[in-house]
Structures are given as C-alpha cells and as structure tokens.
C-alpha cells in the first residue's frame, strides 16, 4: 500500500448483499439488451390476435352463450411470452469470456450467482406480463375476479416464467454452449402445445387428451383462466400454483445441481 492509499477491508458481503449486487447487474444489462426480450413480447401478441381471429367464432359457437374465447386465449399469450425468458445466454457469455471465473474468484456466495439472475428474470417476466394483460383488458376481457384477480394472474405468470428459467440455466451451466441454450427452446413446445392452448380440454379426444392431462401447463392455464372467466375458484387456482411449484422444483434442482458442478473446481 502506498502512502497515498488508505487501507480497505475486504470481507464477505453476505448473502443478501451478494444477491442484490448480482441482480442489479443483471437488471442493468437486461435493460441494455432489449433485443433479448422484445421479440418475447411481440410473438405472443401476434399469436393472440391470430388465434382469436381464427378460432373465436368456432369455439364460442360450440359453448353456451357468454363464453369468452379471448379470456381463454389470454393466458396462452402470457405463457408464450414468459416461458423460456432468461439470461442463460448472457450466463454462457460470462462463462466463455472468463467473467464467471472472475466472479468465482471473489467471496461471492455461489448460489447468488444464479439466484441474482433469476430474480432479475422474475422482474422482466412480470414486466412482460403486464402489457399483455393490459392488451386483454383493452380488447374487452372482463376479468371475473377484478383487478385483484388480474394482479394474481400476473403473479402466477411471473412465477411460472421464473420456474421455467431453471432449464436454460441448467443447460448453460452444464455446457457453456450458446447453441445448446438456444435449443432449450425445444422444451417449450411440448409444454406449450400438448395442452389446452387452443381448445378446451372437453373438446379433446384420444392421445392428446391423455397428454394434456399430464402436462403441468394445462393446470397453469386452467387456474389463470379461472381468474379471468369463472371467479375465485380456489382449487383450480391452487392447482396452478402447484403446477408452478412442480416445474420449479424440477428445473431449480437441475440448475443448482449444474451450478454446483460448475463451481466445484474440477
């Protein structure tokens, strides 16, 4: 230390300080990287408009008067918008650029390197959900549970998006390969399409009906639709939270297992 420098005292910052530091960086970089999330907003809005335009008359004609296909489709648009949104590609770049090693050389709590990214993802996912929900209100959806229900709708969507982030992070940490992370999008297809995305479950038959039964997205959509179409149906809403919890448990286990593998120094 030279005469001109006064001594500082490095120490472990603590879990919450580390989490805050890593999150703030992730949020700052997310804002600087709009091309990473703007398409996530445009594509589901496009699908919402097309699906409603193509199927509204057909589906509503098959149900008793008053059935609102727009309210049926809005959760699908939201789920499409938020599923798979993460900073896994940025994490891969950190690994490849050596910046992840720089972080590992600090006393940062290892778990916060992932939790910090996930908490930034949660904010982004929630922010993506809000305009889609507003779009729904603008096109005439009257939520059966009012504004509180819409807030819960946004929360469920945010938690679902968060729960799903574990998959791309697990792939990013295991492989350090951007192509592999991009291919994680393939996971989205069975979750998104082997479900009640387009028509209600009652209208399905055969193998698709069976597949839909075992897809957690089915129960997620059902709970979100309950908030918009049917009111405070707590069993359906609770099942949606359970579906989120199941996906979150699986994906977070994979992601934190991959993080442990990456940092165990072999």
């Amino acid at each position: 230390m030279s005469a001109g420098e006064s001594r500082v005292h490095p120490r472990s910052a603590g879990f919450f300080a580390d989490l805050r530091s890593v999150s703030l960086r992730a949020i700052r970089l997310t804002v600087r990287d709009p091309e990473a999330f703007v398409p996530a907003l445009i594509i589901p809005v496009f699908f919402f408009i097309v699906n409603v335009g193509a199927l509204q008359s057909f589906v509503e004609g098959s149900f008793p008067p008053g059935y609102d296909y727009k309210a049926f489709q809005l959760p699908v648009a939201v789920v499409f918008a938020v599923t798979g949104v993460s900073r896994a590609n940025a994490l891969v770049l950190d690994i490849r650029d050596g910046y992840f090693d720089r972080l590992l050389l600090t006393p940062v709590r290892r778990g916060t390197l992932l939790l910090g990214l996930m908490s930034a993802d949660f904010l982004l996912i929630t922010a993506l959900t809000i305009p889609v929900a507003i779009l729904g209100l603008l096109v005439g959806i009257h939520p059966a549970t009012g504004l509180i229900g819409v807030a819960l709708f946004v929360l469920i969507a945010g938690l679902w998006g968060l729960a799903f982030t574990g998959f791309p992070y697990a792939i990013a940490l295991r492989t350090g390969n951007p192509t592999a992370v991009n291919n994680a999008f393939l996971l989205f297809f069975p979750f998104a399409f082997l479900t009640t995305a387009y028509i209600p479950r009652e209208a399905m038959t055969g193998w698709l009906s069976t597949a839909v039964r075992f897809n957690p997205t089915t129960y997620l959509l059902d709970g979100m639709r309950a908030l918009l179409q049917d009111g405070w149906k707590w069993q359906r809403i609770g099942t949606a939270f359970l579906a989120v919890g199941v996906i979150g448990a699986v994906s977070f286990s994979l992601a934190f297992g991959a993080l442990r593998g990456r940092v165990k120094r072999n």
């Binding site: 490095p10 120490r11 472990s12 700052r28 720089r102």
Partner: protein
C-alpha cells in the same frame, strides 16, 4: 520473512493427462516470482489451483496463510487475480465493473469510490472508465482487468501471462504497474509468462516449468550463470548438427555443447577466448557455418540446457 505462497507436491490430472506434476515451491511475502514455461507447460493450471478455481488432485497449497482446499474463502479475500484472458463483461462500463467487484468484496460505498479513484490513477484508463468495456482496446482491457484484481487491495497478486498479445508500449505500461505494486505497495506477485525478457526484467526469482514439473528455480542471474558465463551460438546447415557436436566435444575451454535443430549452443566460461578455437574446429571439420554469435546466456539457454528444447524459437 513470511511465506506468501507455498505448495508441496501440488499436482493436477485431467483424466490420463498430468498437467502439473508434484510442484514444490515457496514464494516469500513481497517477492515477485516469475513462473516461466512454454504453452501447455502447466502454468495456468498451477495458477488456477493456487487461486481456488481448481481443486488439486494431490499435494497441498497454502496461499496468504490459508490452505486453498480447506479455506478457499479466506484465500479469495486475500488474493487478486488477472487471468490469461482479460475476464471482463463487455456490456458494463469500467466503473460499473469495478464497483461490482468492490461490492462483492463487501466494501462500503465510500471505500468503493475511493478505490475506483485510486485505481484510475494507477491503470490510466481516463474517461474511458465510463464507457462500455466492449469499446476498449486490448491494452485497456488488460489494465482494467488488473484494476479489477486490485479493488480489494490483495496481499498476493496472481498475473497469468499479463502481457500476452500486447504491443510493446502496453507491455511496458504493465511492467511499470507490476513494479509499482511490488515496490510501493509491498504486494507479493506470482507472475506466469512465456516471455524470457519479462521474467528477467521483473522477477526476483524464476521457476521454470516444463511438462508439469518445476525443472529449475533461482534468481535470473544464478540460473543464467548455471549454463556458463558466455554462450557461443553456431547456426549450421541443415543436417550437420551431429557433426558439429562431435567436432567440438572435448575442445578445451568449452563447458557444454548442445544441439537444437540446426543451432549449436556452446557454453563457455570465457567467450572471447573460446570463439576462435570453436571457429577453427568447425572449419577443420568442414562444417559450413551460417552464423556465429557470442553473447551472455539467457533464460532460454537455461531452458534449453534443462529440457533440450527452446522456450522461444526466435531466442537466438
């Protein structure tokens, strides 16, 4: 004198490959230790073990008073590391990167501001500190990487090939910073390099690693003296090296004759006295000599003597 870095039988295997093979070394506090070796010799693996990024397969290492295996968190608080490639985030500004680094070391806001100001003076990045790192030149990235390693005022600084790929001006700037950190701040510096002149110019002691083993260690002067006071280098036509060795072997005044490719390296105590007999012996043997040079030994000659190969192909 306390020991800042000590390894005993330190080894690292990757499958069947032995990257570091039982290295014993001790670096005193306040010393600049140069770790010299060619690409693939095991330098970076050694650094990654000493800095807690990699678990040793065998052996022990104590850095800044703590075992890297048992107390990695304590080691991390006391070391700074600039890895071979500048480990930066191109989308942050330099100031944001240094600030985050300070936060992760638990520094207060005032401490972080103070350190950023001090580091800006040291690494001379100027106004670019508020630009995104992606816009920096290679030299600026290296300097910022060094600053990031220094935010928390480490006791021991690891520099893994800090000047690789830099132009001569940037290299000189890094050398000046390394000297300053050691002389003015008393920092222990473990410096890996494949540049002979870098180890020669900066290091108080040099360890030479080849094939994962520490093959020689000492001050640059002692190591160079170990191969003789002077060196005569004869460049001969292709395929004549064995004949040259035979012609010179047994000649008085010569300490050692070694061939590497078409180059013969003759270690002598008195170069001025030996060069004429060498030239005469080569002429008598009918050897076509393309060049005959008398110079003082370099660390590359030490490397050649120990391993039978050159560290740098253009060393002559």
């Amino acid at each position: 004198m306390t020991t800042a870095i000590e390894s005993t039988g330190l080894a690292r295997r990757f499958g069947d490959t032995i990257a570091v093979d039982g290295v014993d070394l001790a670096v005193d506090a306040g010393e600049i230790y140069g770790f010299l070796g060619p690409n693939g010799a095991g330098k970076s693996t050694m650094v990654r073990m000493l800095t807690t990024l990699l678990t040793p397969s065998d052996g022990t290492a104590v850095v800044a008073g703590f075992d890297v295996r048992a107390k990695p968190e304590q080691v991390r608080l006391r070391i700074g590391v600039a890895l071979q490639e500048a480990a930066l985030d191109p989308k942050q500004t330099g100031r944001e990167l240094l600030d985050l680094q300070g936060r992760l070391y638990g520094l207060t806001g005032a401490e972080r501001d103070q350190r950023v100001t001090e580091l800006l003076r040291l690494v001379d990045i100027g106004d670019a500190i508020d630009r995104r790192i992606g816009t920096y030149s290679g030299g600026m990235k290296r300097r910022l990487d060094l600053a990031a390693a220094l935010v928390h005022q480490p006791d021991v600084l690891f520099l893994d090939e800090p000047t690789a790929g830099l132009d001569p001006i940037s290299r000189a700037a890094v050398w000046a910073e390394v000297r300053y950190l050691n002389e003015e701040m008393g920092m222990t510096i473990f410096l890996t390099t494949q540049y002979l002149e870098e180890a020669d110019a900066l290091a108080g002691r040099v360890g030479i690693i080849a094939g994962g083993k520490l093959v020689a260690e000492g001050t640059p002067t002692d190591l160079k003296h170990s191969v003789g006071s002077d060196v005569i280098v004869a460049k001969v036509q292709h395929g004549q090296a064995d004949r040259v060795v035979a012609a010179l072997t047994g000649l008085a005044l010569l300490e050692r004759v070694e061939a590497v490719g078409d180059e013969i390296v003759v270690s002598v105590a008195d170069g001025a006295a030996a060069i004429s007999p060498v030239a005469v012996a080569l002429a008598k043997a009918g050897i076509t000599v393309e060049g005959l040079t008398l110079r003082t030994p370099t660390l590359d000659d030490v490397f050649l003597h120990i391993t039978g190969g050159r560290l740098q192909e253009d060393a002559v």
